[in-house]
């Protein structure tokens, strides 16, 4: 279970990333954030966000049209 959940369903690029970053920075280092999104572009974008920032993408699943990501804030 992630420490915090962000519902970004219905939001389009770049809002899921911007809101996720904000929510992530509100967590302590090592804290985990679950993001729910419906923007299909988010799949590639969260992977790129994670590679560039070092906030680890520890889970990515799809359920119907909802994409679920779990990020861990960089220590």
């Amino acid at each position: 279970m992630a420490d915090q959940t962000l519902d970004a369903k219905g939001l389009n690029c770049p809002l899921p990333i911007l809101k996720a970053k904000k929510a992530l920075m509100a967590l302590p280092p090592g804290g985990t954030l679950e993001v729910l999104a419906t923007d299909p572009g988010a799949v590639k974008d969260f992977a790129a966000f994670s590679r560039t920032t070092g906030h680890e993408l520890i889970e990515q699943t799809t359920e119907g049209n909802v994409f679920r990501f779990v990020l861990r804030r960089k220590a």
Binding site: G10, N12, C13, P14, I17, L18, K21, D39, F49, T53
Partner: protein, 164 residues
Amino acid sequence: MADASGTKSMSIIVTKGSLDWAYPPFILSTTAAAMGLNVTLFFTFYGLSLLLKNLDLKMTPLGNPAMKMPMMGGHMGMPNFMSMIPGVDAGATVMMQNMMKKKGVASIPELRSLALESEVRMIACQMTMDLFEYTLDDMIPGIELGGAATYIEVATQSEINLFI
């Protein structure tokens, strides 16, 4: 280039001020800032209107054959003469705004606030401010004035430099 802490930088020259063209600079700058980059936007000519306190962004299909709006299951362009008819551009603007709202696309005021919040540096070109007779009072707080040399200095220190 990346500074002592390894932070990378991006700059964008923003030259356009219509509703559609307002998106790329604000989307890229907010996203780059979220990804840890130092970002500078240099607003010149019509790009200056994106810094006005009273944003009144409009768009026109005039001279834009690629602007085809989704309509009745297809896509419809608009012949140039249509833009001469009063109200057509205003209608196209409202149509675009509604479409964006429906698709969960952020508004420009929202993206602009997010950019300021994430410390995107915004420089208004002094020469075009003078040319179009704008003062800092017309613009949102938190921006600065600068010229070509100011921008070039930023560009020499940035990995990514874009012109929009």
